[in-house]
């Protein structure tokens, strides 16, 4: 009965979302308050119904009710409870249900939490939100029903793909979706503003926190996915420029541009059209990501055309959402009133450059992701676009971005003194030059990109520190006064400091682990010894271990340096008999200086029972990536926790204009 309750809740939810798509808009057109207010009731109802459906599906997984097809194909009675719960969103159908659940929860947030929003704007926003909801609910019910039943039920399930039975990946989709779907609110606000033809102060007030919340979740989601790929796939790589990764990275880049642009809209009442366009694009890229992953397009273009029902449905939804909102933008944007003026050298201009660079970077990733798909669809030729392309296109853009972002926060609003700022950054420039020389000295034959990147990371870190020190007047006033100022600095400011520093830390990790990685792959038998990055590793042997739903063959490696014992590593191969596949569990010894990473593979041939393929990697500084990404997310949370409203105070022009002074 429980699955059917979930099913009925879903069909009711579709009906409710259709009402919410139409009634509030009618209300705004006819000035009818009752119709506009119905959006609040329907959003509560929607959340209740979709929540009920999600609960019903999760319940079916927890009690292993194999009459539900989705449970039978993605779960197994012997699976650990955590992964039974996580399997709720492990499948295509379940993940869509999670998507919609998050969507309606965000809608509920708008309808209950957001105060000071004019009723008309709220009604329009919730109606737009309901369009998206109706699109996804109908997609689910007609092409991917999570409550499809099977009777008589199979005696046991097929088990979830064991690669996905992992804590990192259990949490990855919810965070990713919180990010994707979080952008939907900003999108709905933007479309509502476009319908209305103007931007309310409330709009500008709310767009930044919503974007930031979504961005924090998306950051965590991407990092979890990357971390999972690092330790679970057994390669030691953390980013592959794979289309699946790219489609989550693009909304992140666009979202980063969006909340920087939203700062200008909030503080300076400017960049309104630009912010709206970015809001539309960011969510469109989120939809594109969902489409690319959920349509099977990635497995192969051919597979997509064999079973096109789902793909076509999302493609049509995507066309309506992106085409419709961009058309609306084209029609309405010219009518939007402009904002405050600013000089070519100012905080606004810096943020504009940030936006342009991020948009260009997004475009290069979009091109690299879609071009192979288009080429395969048109000519049938299969190509893969990998690191060489991105190193030549994406990375240089980001390096310029890093160079500029070091300067941006030091500029004041409206008009700024670039020379003065650069003068303050002199010692930072010297320091980064020293860093570049040091890297070049240590690794003379190494990649130039590594030298440049490390210099830029130091440049960014130094300027962040300079900016903070300037804010609290470190050294200019007594230390106690500086500390008082440090305490009084708004949390949103600390958010910026932490996030920018986090990016610098990430860059150091990116460079270290890709430019200076060392790798050894050998056939090992008990007693084999090898040397890597100063460590001596000895392969002791392999033993069998039994897990809850798998059989593990666990190797023991003894690691020592200069004759002293350092640690023991236990990489595993796990065989899941029900799912009929195996996973790699790598063993990693993590330190700040670098990770020692070991994984094993089955014997190459039947005749060589005792010989294992052993892969040992030393990846310097890789942990800096996770620390840096954590700082990025922490920065977002800090900024979000600052509930203050923000107004940009233009600094009074003191005396003469600064630029001509030196020139004379």
């Amino acid at each position: 009965m429980i699955p059917e309750i979930g099913q009925f809740a879903l069909t009711l939810a579709l009906a409710v979302s259709l009402v919410q798509s139409v009634l509030p808009l009618l209300g705004t057109a006819r000035d009818n308050v009752v119709w506009m207010k119905s959006a609040t009731a329907t959003s509560v109802l929607l959340t209740g119904l979709v929540g009920l459906a999600f609960g019903a599906l999760m319940w079916s997984f927890v009690i292993s009710d194999f009459t539900v097809l989705n449970v039978a194909s993605n779960s197994h009675s012997q699976k650990p409870m955590l992964f039974k719960v996580a399997a709720t969103w492990g499948s295509h159908e379940g993940s869509l249900l999670l998507w919609v659940l998050i969507l309606v929860i965000f809608g509920l947030g708008v309808s209950l939490l957001a105060r000071n929003i004019p009723l008309a704007l709220k009604a329009r926003t919730l109606a737009v939100q309901a369009w998206i909801c109706a699109g996804f609910l109908s997609f689910m019910l007609f092409t991917s029903n999570p409550f499809e039943r099977v009777f008589p039920a199979p005696l046991d399930g097929n088990d979830l793909n064991p690669l996905l039975q992992d804590i990192g990946l259990a949490l990855h989709p919810p965070f990713l979706y919180l990010g994707y779907v979080g952008f939907s609110i900003v999108f709905s606000f933007a479309v509502a503003a476009l319908i209305e033809g103007r931007v309310d102060p409330a709009w500008a007030r709310w767009v930044r926190p919503w974007t930031l919340a979504a961005w924090v979740f998306l950051t965590l989601g991407i990092v979890l996915g990357s971390w999972w790929a690092y330790y679970e796939l057994g390669w030691g790589g953390w980013w592959f420029w794979d289309p699946v990764e790219n489609v989550s990275f693009m909304p992140w880049l666009a979202g980063t541009a969006l909340f920087h642009s939203a700062i200008v809209t909030e503080k300076r009442d400017s960049f309104k059209s630009w912010t709206i366009l970015l809001a539309v694009l960011t969510f469109s890229l989120s939809l594109l990501g969902t489409f690319v992953v959920r349509s099977g397009l990635l497995t192969s273009v051919h597979a997509f055309s064999v079973d096109p029902e789902r793909g076509i449905y999302i493609l049509v939804l995507l066309g309506i959402a992106i085409g419709g909102s961009l058309t609306l933008f084209a029609v309405r944007a010219p009518e939007m009133e402009g904002g405050g003026l600013f000089a070519p050298i100012s905080r606004e201009a810096g943020l504009l450059i940030n936006n342009l660079l991020l948009a260009t970077a997004t475009a290069t990733v979009l091109f690299g992701t879609l071009y192979p798909l288009l080429l395969e669809a048109v000519t049938g030729e299969k190509i893969s676009v990998g690191p060489p392309y991105y190193n030549a296109s994406f990375v240089p853009i980001m390096l310029v971005l890093v160079m500029v972002m070091a300067v941006g926060p030091l500029l004041s609003w409206k008009r700024a003194d670039l020379r003065g700022v650069l003068a303050r950054l002199k010692w930072v420039a010297g320091l980064s030059l020293l860093a570049a020389l040091a890297v070049w000295y240590l690794d003379t034959g190494g990649p130039v990109l590594a030298v440049v990147s490390i210099a830029l990371a130091v440049w960014l870190l130094g300027s962040v520190a300079t900016e903070w020190a300037g804010r609290i007047k470190l050294g200019e006033v007594p230390l106690a006064e500086s500390l008082r100022r440090a305490r009084n600095l708004p949390r949103s400011h600390y958010g910026m400091v932490v996030a920018h520093a986090g990016l610098a830390v990430c860059i150091i990790g990116f460079v270290g682990s890709s430019a200076w990685k060392s790798e050894v792959v050998i056939f090992a038998e008990p007693g084999t010894e090898l040397e890597i990055a100063g460590f001596d590793v000895r392969f002791e042997g392999v033993e069998q271990v039994r897990g809850p739903n798998y059989l593990s063959r666990m190797a023991t490696l003894t690691v020592s340096r200069n004759g002293t014992f350092v640690s023991t590593l236990n990489p595993e191969r796990r065989a899941y008999p029900v799912a009929g596949s195996s996973t790699t569990e790598s063993a990693i010894r993590t330190t700040l200086a670098g990770d020692l990473y070991a994984s094993i593979q089955e014997p190459a041939a039947e005749s060589e029972q005792n010989r294992w393929t052993l892969r040992i990697l030393y990846e310097p500084l890789v942990v800096w990536i996770w620390i840096g990404s954590g700082l990025l997310a922490l920065g977002g949370v800090l900024s979000l926790s600052d509930r203050r409203l923000r107004v940009g105070a233009p600094r009074k022009r003191t005396g003469r204009a600064p630029a001509p002074v030196v020139a004379e």
């Binding site: 009925f8 009818n32 308050v33 929003i117 008309a120 064999v306 203050r644 107004v647 009074k652």
Partner: protein, 380 residues
């Protein structure tokens, strides 16, 4: 029970929506009020920042001036604000009624209210039964293996079929393989072996399986399962057109509808959709035999044996009368012959089949009906 829950859900949805907007709190936030509230908040913030020394007095003044400028800009645009008019309740009620109606209609399409939940923990009986079957299969296998003569063919066939039902396809293939070289192996047994091989390979007809199906067709050219998998093999080898033609030829070689044709037609339609061939309707390819209608059959069920014989006879006589009017209908003569054979009237049956045989002389040599007629005449 389930319908009660559904009714409660539908009623809750209806009530929530129907009573929305009826709260006494009819305050409506207009654009101007919203903007003023936000700007007032901002001014408080700016003043607090100045108190905490984050911004200077001059900056504070500039910021306040900026906020006031924005408020004036909003004021200039002030236009028709929504007014609290509690009208339009009728539309809300209509929408509230539409929700359960539409929800129920959709549920009618996609739901399966008749299927109960089956938590794994409550299925101990089934699990025990499955274990019991597994035990029995294991015992049967042990006994067959101990048998010095290699075990009876029937035994191995049964073991293979049991494994197939348990989903242990490789074991099933192993069991069927034991008897394939025996002289008494039938076409059905060969094609079951082939089917097990296909299932064990996740639906791929391997060359080995294909040879097994060839053998099954040698033993009996009319084995439909073997033809089905041969067509699948052709499709997997990249010749969907040939697969389609083979399936079609096999259906057309019969004189009327057979139950296995449903899966053939479904397979043809699947291939047709993939490569752009015309879809098929089984009713066109293999017209259903003009047998008794459901009503007639139901009547026959309730009759005594004598009555039933009489009923069948009357039907046969009607068919015979039709054949006199239309003596060129080969399939009709075959059906009449079969009907007489069932009634035990060998002479009439032989006559009917003889008429069919004359007509069948015009058929191509490999038409299965020729063999069918010869076999029937032999048996009579």
């Amino acid at each position: 029970m389930i319908w009660i829950v559904f009714s409660v859900m539908a009623a809750a949805a209806f009530l929530t929506l129907a009573f929305s907007g009826t709260s006494r709190k009819t305050s409506v936030l207009s654009r101007h009020e919203s903007a003023s509230a936000i700007f007032a908040d901002q001014i408080t913030e700016v003043e607090r920042d100045q108190e905490r020394g984050i911004i200077s007095a001059g900056e504070c003044k500039a910021a306040k001036a900026e906020i006031e400028r924005r408020l004036r800009a909003i004021d200039r645009q002030a236009d028709g604000e929504p007014t609290a008019r509690p009208s339009g309740r009728a539309l809300v009620l209509a929408a509230a009624l539409a929700v359960p109606a539409l929800g129920a209609a959709l549920y009618w399409q996609v739901g399966s209210p008749g299927i109960p939940s089956q938590p794994f923990a409550e299925r101990a009986g089934e699990q025990a039964q499955a274990r019991e079957i597994a035990d029995l299969a294991a015992k049967l296998k042990a006994r067959l293996e101990l048998d010095e003569t290699g075990g009876p063919t029937d035994g191995w066939a049964m073991l293979g079929q049991t494994y197939m039902r348990m989903g242990r396809y490789e074991d099933a293939a192993g069991a069927f393989a034991r008897v394939q070289d025996r002289p008494e192996v039938t076409s059905a047994l060969a094609s079951q072996y082939g089917e097990a091989l296909v299932y064990a390979e996740d639906g791929i007809v391997t060359p080995k399986a294909s040879r097994v199906f060839d053998r099954a067709l040698e033993l009996d050219p009319a084995n439909p399962a073997a033809s089905f998998y041969q067509a699948l093999a052709l499709e997997q080898a990249g010749a969907p057109d040939a697969a389609y033609d083979l399936l079609q030829a096999r259906i057309e070689s019969e004189d009327g509808y057979r139950p296995w044709m449903d899966s053939f037609a479904a397979q043809m339609n699947r291939i047709a959709a993939l490569v752009g061939l015309p879809g098929v309707d089984l009713a066109d390819l293999a017209p259903a035999m003009p047998g008794p209608t459901a009503e007639q059959a139901a009547t026959a069920e309730q009759m005594s044996d004598e009555d039933r014989q009489a009923f069948i006879r009357s039907m046969v006589e009607r068919l015979a009368a039709r054949m006199q009017e239309n003596p060129g209908d080969l399939d009709g003569w075959m059906r009449l012959g079969k009907a007489y054979a069932v009634l035990g009237e060998s002479n009439s049956a032989r006559d009917a089949y003889s008429r069919a045989k004359v007509l069948a002389d015009d058929l191509p040599q490999d038409d299965p009906r020729r063999a069918g007629i010869d076999r029937a005449l032999l048996e009579l």
